[in-house]
Symmetry: C2
Subunit: 663 residues, 2 copies
């Protein structure tokens, strides 16, 4: 056994154990020496968090009010404020052409704050906590406070105005400076693990850094160019035009993979990337899905970090702190690992080390599986979106026969990102528990017995039941063999049943054994079903229930309705047509106005298409057809524009009939 102990030393914890050998008689002295239990000095911020919030909350409020005034002013100038109130929109979830960087960054900041908040004792530093119950109330309040605090960070970008960019710069710099200053001043915190707070805040800080770089860039751009907004619009326009051309041309454009003889690594890379990013021209995943995926990645990061720092350092400390007392404690429970106390300590340390390895392996496995499932989800999302765009429906999902959206769809759409994040969190946790248990059982019942000949529980069980197991295995093999060689006859190229009487006799005689085989198969069924559900728990695009009752699964139901809403409100072809219809006359009509057409005006485009004469449906549909045809022709033949200018801008602006149906 001493050879084993030395093997242990060389493999896992060489220095710890060698120390343990020498200082085993002075456990207290050694413990104090090797484990100073480094006390983290109480760290006082020179700029306390309460002051930070007291300054930044009013600043944010002022920013919102200013932005609101700005929006109102522009609205009033344009003379159209139907349905929009003063508050600037945080972001346009349903538009493809709005930037994706700022929403992703702000959602990341918000979610990271939420994660950090869950473990913080002082959720709202500017409010005094009266009791532990009060802490709960403040946490609930903080769930509403932090979105409001970060609201201006995202709203400044959507206003697309120099004043907005200036405000954005100020706010993001202030947030970023304070956060970085706090972390530099106090990098270590006593909670859970000394660097946990720092590591957990990394996404928050990187998001803030990103914003405090993005806003100045945009400000500089808008200062240097007179019409900075046009650049963005041109992108949106070209995107939609591209998409429309691609859809209407009817033939697939050659993908970039048609390069002659790509190398093997680049092929693999391309194959992997083709799952994440669609090679179809003009097709983009909706912003909400991009957001959900980013949030899912942050969730995985935060959860893995927490699981890691909450378990591994403590286990390592426990391993280092093992002394002779453990042998007495184990003996008290009737567990005698060995006669030699040193050996017992070595074994306990070895077991703890094995436990740690199992834990980390389970974490790695569950993390990779969750990432894999996330990637697969993206593929499924893309396929489903494309199918819905073509009018297909999801298996078991809501039927798209009703063209409008319902309240359920809106509710599901609002909750989708939150649910996706929560499911990733729960799924990863479930996987970690199950895989950890599985690895521990495997290690302690199979690996250690085989390596060291200890804990032979499973092997004793096998030894006692081998005739039974052998009978079951033999029966299965026998049935398979007889099915192959005795009961099948090759009759003119077609396999036919033969020897029926023997088949019946074997079926009858082996029935009791088949019942027992069935018990084993039943356990397999349970295991497969449970593992499948746990691994796929984080996927919203997959129902955990079988065919026919899929929508009983609340996650899948949310996904189906989310998709319905997304497709009905942002079908790319529809949006492209609306955008172009507005763009063509608009760019000329509003050439003298201060601002060009914003992508959010597409909503107005949809409204324009709804003519007022509901009674004359036939005329309306004819009108619509003519209009689409007109728009399409004009896209393909831009030279005609000059001749059609008046007749086109007329009917689209006020909804009357076009002067001539034939372009």
């Amino acid at each position: 056994m001493s050879s084993l102990a030395s093997a242990n030393q060389s493999s896992g914890e060489s220095e710890d154990y060698s120390y343990g050998n020498w200082y085993i008689d002075e456990p207290n002295a050694r413990e104090e020496a090797s484990q100073p239990y480094e006390t983290i000095p109480a760290c006082q911020h020179s700029f306390p968090p309460s002051l930070y919030h007291t300054c930044l909350a009013p600043l944010s409020l002022v920013a919102i009010l200013l932005l609101s005034l700005l929006v109102k002013r522009r609205r009033l100038c344009l003379g159209c404020c139907h349905g929009t109130f003063g508050l600037p929109s945080p972001l346009d979830f349903l538009a493809e052409e709005s930037g994706r960087l700022v929403p992703v960054a702000v959602f990341g900041i918000l979610f990271t704050k939420l994660c950090v908040l869950a473990l913080e004792e002082d959720p709202l530093p500017f409010l005094p906590i009266s009791s532990p119950a009060g802490q709960g109330y403040w946490k609930t309040l903080a769930l509403l406070y932090y979105p409001a605090l970060y609201y201006p960070l995202i709203a400044c970008a959507t206003v697309r105005h120099q004043a907005g960019y200036v405000l954005g710069c100020l706010l993001s710099w202030a947030h970023c400076a304070v956060q970085i200053w706090h972390k530099v001043e106090c990098p270590q915190t006593p909670k859970i693990y000394k660097y946990y707070s720092l590591l957990a805040s990394l996404p928050l800080i990187s998001g803030l850094v990103l914003l405090s770089l993005w806003y100045p860039t945009q400000l500089l751009k808008s200062l240097s160019q007179k019409m900075a907004v046009t650049g963005l619009e041109v992108t949106g326009k070209s995107y939609y035009e591209d998409y429309l051309r691609h859809i209407l041309s009817g033939k697939r454009s050659k993908s970039s993979s048609s390069v002659a003889n790509p190398s093997f690594p680049s092929r693999i890379l391309f194959y992997f990337l083709s799952h994440i990013y669609s090679p179809q021209r003009g097709f983009r995943l909706p912003l909400k899905l991009i957001l959900s995926s980013t949030l899912a990645a942050i969730t995985i990061y935060q959860e893995v970090l927490l699981l890691l720092v909450a378990f591994v350092p403590n286990l390592q400390k426990a391993r280092e702190g093992i002394t002779e007392e453990v042998t007495y404690m184990l003996a008290g429970f009737g567990l005698v690992l060995s006669e030699d106390k040193l050996e017992v300590i070595a074994w306990v340390k070895y077991y703890l080390w094995a436990l740690e390895v199992c834990y980390v392996s389970a974490l790695v496995l569950s993390c990779s599986l969750t990432f894999l499932m996330l990637t697969r989800s993206l593929v499924t999302h893309r396929n489903n979106l494309r199918a819905w765009h073509c009018g297909a429906t999801l298996d078991g999902g809501p039927q798209p026969q009703k063209p409008g959206v319902g309240a359920t769809a809106i509710f599901c759409w609002m909750s989708f990102s939150g649910y996706q994040t929560a499911f990733i969190c729960l799924g990863l946790f479930l996987q970690q528990i199950i895989f950890f248990l599985g690895f521990v059982l495997f290690t302690f019942l199979v690996v250690i017995p085989i390596l060291y000949g200890r804990n032979l529980l499973l092997f004793y069980m096998l030894e006692n039941t081998w005739p039974f197991c052998l009978t079951l295995i033999l029966a299965v093999i026998l049935q398979n063999l007889t099915a192959h060689w005795a009961f099948l006859e090759n009759h003119q190229g077609q396999q036919e049943l033969t020897n029926r009487k023997s088949l019946y006799a074997v079926t009858f005689l082996l029935f009791p054994i088949n019942v027992l085989v069935g018990i084993m198969v039943g356990f397999c069924r349970m295991l497969i079903s449970a593992l499948f559900n746990i691994i796929h728990f984080c996927q919203l695009d997959l129902s955990l229930l079988p065919r026919g009752v899929e929508t009983l699964d609340p996650g899948y139901r949310t996904y189906c309705y989310y998709l319905k809403m997304e497709v009905s409100q942002s079908h790319p072809a529809m949006r492209a047509f609306c955008f172009l219809l507005l763009q063509l006359p608009g760019s000329q009509r509003l050439a003298g106005a201060q601002a060009g057409l914003r992508p959010s005006d597409v909503e107005e485009g949809i409204r324009l298409l709804q003519t007022k004469n509901s009674a004359r449906n036939a005329t309306r549909s004819r009108q619509s057809r003519i209009r689409w045809g007109l728009a399409y022709t004009l896209i393909r033949n831009p030279s005609l524009l000059t001749f059609r200018k008046k007749s086109l801008s007329g009917p689209l602006a006020n909804g009357s009939q076009p002067s001539s149906p034939n372009p």
Copy 2:
């Protein structure tokens, strides 16, 4: 609290508790008085089981040999022994026309014996047990011994000969007499519960009684009628003719439900029966499904019996045996239910009674659910079979494009009944555990706190987290309300999205709360999925895995292949045609022979259709078409038979070409 105690008395255990009040100071005396722990006297069988087996095993062997000789002799007489060996077939699983009573009875006997065997110490009474390990070997051996022992009981019926019936009478009487004699002599056994052995053997004894009545009846029939076998054949023939006529007529026959104005109860009964028994004329569930259902019912009986007698009497004993010592024991664990010792005893008794109620309720619920699932399975089986008969395929199952059977299908077909039985057993057990836990949690966390104001754990938790819960609920309600009233606009009868900016703002602001709502929804998802899978675990016709990966579920895979085998081998239309083809000339050709055509000769009918000239496929298919047409015409016009006798019996007997293709 004393009012509660008196309430307890009146509700649950009035006499026990009132005794307890009086005799609380003499616990030992009272215990001995009220609980004599009735020792069951050791019971010696006057006809020991070892002798029973020593007599009956050779008798069964002799019976098998005699039957084998009988079969051989008849086979030799007929001059066709292709592929059949001497051993008589136990039953014709794939034929619809064979009787169903005997197979059901014998399988029931065999399975009951298997259940009783699992708990028996002496699985093979005629062999001495050397050690507990030896007991395991004997049990494994018994799995093969008992099917062989009961083999003649079923084989005697399939021979359809007077000698077979005589042997069947002898064997069934012997088995039945010995079993009944044993139970009458020793109705009580010390194991588990005094009457457990008697109750568990009931299906075995009733099966034996059934057989010992059936064989004499058949013997009398065959003695009184010269051609007793013909009766059976006529049944089979008329069944197939009916089915064929029904299929070929193309119009649905009126079902029996068309009686004018049936009463409400009879309607309900009919509705229920229509699920179990198909009203379609001529359609019958295959024998294997009938067998599996019977075995499933026996499994439920045996398992419920075992679960009931293993828990309830022991709990009742424990409840009666509660004395003052329990208070000390509880105090030792730091549990002080009350200051008054009498009250503590009352509470413990009440809790035990609640536990018992939960257990029995869970058992009733799981038993009813399993029965319901079994009924639903029968409906699905029928629908699936009909769909396969028409050439449809199961969702995700194997494609029926390959017309022949494969080894997998044969293996799955052989194991099907065993698996179904095992899954019912496992499923019921799982349900019992889960429902019991659920009921206990519900009773002790919700019902008792509400009724008596104790164990307020859940309510304390709710009290501490109410602002959190309220926020979540309010957020969900708010989102639903705004989705309905603020973000939806009724635009010419069609609902359209409006107020987009507010929608985006609400989505952003409520995101953190939606993550927490998502955690709750995730728990619901887990619960729904787990409950669904546990409740449907016993159903083989339902995959527990979602769409696309259904056949990864071993149970569903077995079911699909079983169905494929069943349909390919016993398609009713095919069998009906074969039967008729053989029947028409056979009844005249073999009129002088001792025995008529047996339904098992249908196999030969299938063979006859395969002509030897594989090269001339075109001729063959023309031949087949002509033959089917001929047979059909003759069925519809029996008067033509006399004119066609010679030309028909010729080609069918030796497979040569028919002399005239036109009937």
